[in-house]
Symmetry: C2
Subunit: 412 residues, 2 copies
Amino acid sequence: MNAQDYFFKVKTPDEVQKTLKDISYVLPGESVGIEASLGRILAEDVYSPVDLPGFERSTMDGFAVRARDTFGASAGSPAYLRLAGEVKMGETASMKLSPGEAIGVSTGSMVPEGADAIVIIEHTDILDDETIEVVRPVAPGDNLVRKDEDISKGSIMLRKGRMIRPHDIGALAGAGILEIKAIKQPEVAIISSGDEIIQPDQKPQNGQIRDINTYSLSALARQAGALPISMGIVKDSYELLRHKLLESIDIADIALISGGSSVGTRDATLDVIQSIPDSEILVHGISIRPGKPTIIAKAGRKYIFGLPGNPVSVMVTFDLFVGYLIKLLSGIEQHEWKPRYVKAFLSRNLASAPGREDYVCVRLVDSGKILAEPVLGKSALITMMVRADGLIKIPLDMEGLEAGTEVDVFVF
Amino acid sequence: MNAQDYFFKVKTPDEVQKTLKDISYVLPGESVGIEASLGRILAEDVYSPVDLPGFERSTMDGFAVRARDTFGASAGSPAYLRLAGEVKMGETASMKLSPGEAIGVSTGSMVPEGADAIVIIEHTDILDDETIEVVRPVAPGDNLVRKDEDISKGSIMLRKGRMIRPHDIGALAGAGILEIKAIKQPEVAIISSGDEIIQPDQKPQNGQIRDINTYSLSALARQAGALPISMGIVKDSYELLRHKLLESIDIADIALISGGSSVGTRDATLDVIQSIPDSEILVHGISIRPGKPTIIAKAGRKYIFGLPGNPVSVMVTFDLFVGYLIKLLSGIEQHEWKPRYVKAFLSRNLASAPGREDYVCVRLVDSGKILAEPVLGKSALITMMVRADGLIKIPLDMEGLEAGTEVDVFVF
């Protein structure tokens, strides 16, 4: 492909996300025990099979009463009630409260039939075994929860598309629901390509380098809620790469090919992707730096990414595109309030070229106000990412940012 | 204990955190494979055993040259160099570059001895098998990384106390480090107490309620980086609770007793904690709502929390105190830039009592600006937490917040 075709096809990051959105689908559901469901996405609405708490329940220590028996009560003119017994925690309140009576209750115990409010113990005096004094009135419903006040039977508890939080798991347990249907976690197969790449447990010769991207990408995939599958290292060979890619899309939803920064390798990766049955190249080149030579394709219901090999590109392209697709496949429907940005002031001028989104690594420094210090160096260096706390974006249409500008730092 | 003693002992949330900080220690380290190390905390500094990349490496496709041979080159007056060969990816550059020569390289390949810069392919023309034209000059060091430019042997790669991120794992792999020492994850034993509590797989009778807190607390502990251990449900019995608590602090670093909202149970929990050998009550009552009746104790090197049983209290007290202690025991030393707050505008007035921190559940609504709508209801309801997106704090010294006030929402 010549330079003109190449530039003709370059898409903006927003266009790439729109393309991914248009062709994405939500993965099927699977049964998951609630104890393993933290962070998973609900595949269907959950309705409560029961009322919760299931019985009228006291929220305070005190006495169950008929509220009208306490109307007008004060320290000067208390209401006197006959003490008719006590409901123990965890027991059914079998006795019925009659007018003029009080029955002892604890926080959480069942309110006996006939009572419609709880007088807290601090507003009473026990005169003898049979009589209490009430010094403040209560209104019906005071200090108790109705049998279906928390959740009513048949009502919706949690909606499809929700990411499950700790208290959701508590609520499910409370309703006796021990399994839910969650969207399957997307499986992401990771191929590291390049004649120079060796396993980290091997000793590199001159010209060889240990595999970095399989490890970074696995952790990024896991952090994004996917299940990484390491496919190993493939030499720069059309046949070997094609074989590994077919195997990857057979077992996973998404295949990532990392490496291949040189023109020859990039072209070979493109050829291999195009040779996959039903494959369609969706994106070849993105107006972004770093990350421009990214390739995105679809083959049947599987997705293939050719990611440029350097560490900063890997982070940027993973987060903007692979992570974005993982969310789409996971079917998250709820508004995500997770704050991922820290406001900071840029410590120096940064230049950029209009027509492309620039992502720059920054270190955050708290010196009264929070400063974003660009981490300088070549994006081929893994330590760029280790030293940085996050990334800032210089938008498509800007020629740079001036020192002192307030920026949103996307923190790692 | 009478009311006066009780109030005398009440601490502010800040005092409680200071108390925890004063008596905390960092757990020991353990070996962890790098692939399982995401989010773990480094127990010791990591030094690089190697230079990275380990050889002088080209960052572009092009030709290795002596920079001085290109000085003054232009399209009108190109420099002519003798093409002396090519370095393939992953191979040792065995040939030596002589003055006036160029050797072909790819992105990532080794730079041959004698060369000090790379001319990118776009700035050259290949005239024949033996000669290239260079149309722009390069300076020494252009388009290559030195053998120790990424990481130099013996230098510090990652510092003790750092929470491991995806690219740290990549960097470790790149340096051939496959195992690290990480601080042990704190183990948190969770006891659910109360005569009314039953297992979620059982059918409750009137007056009984399924266990919620074991499930919420396990997930909260896991989210905070700890390892939860479910100890089951204990009836309100001094002997049973004492036995379970001894077992808990034997196997875990932190024991949580949840439930026990009634005065009698609270006192029993206090008695049991006081009976544990070497135990010391550090906190009994906190000026916070909800969560006031929280008990915190230390027994030897183990920590015991008596948490009030209702769901909103559990969330607030877990996050402010248990989660805080988990971080201390985990030895995180790095500045945490994780943004956990969303700015929003309060949708209505909220009253509070000075002298206590109030935590109020809010739902976030995006209607042009982000509104924080208080979720109203009794804090005994688990659905309060399910409906809310986060919490806002009304500080100790304020009598409330007015509608329209900008608030920081701590999102779940």
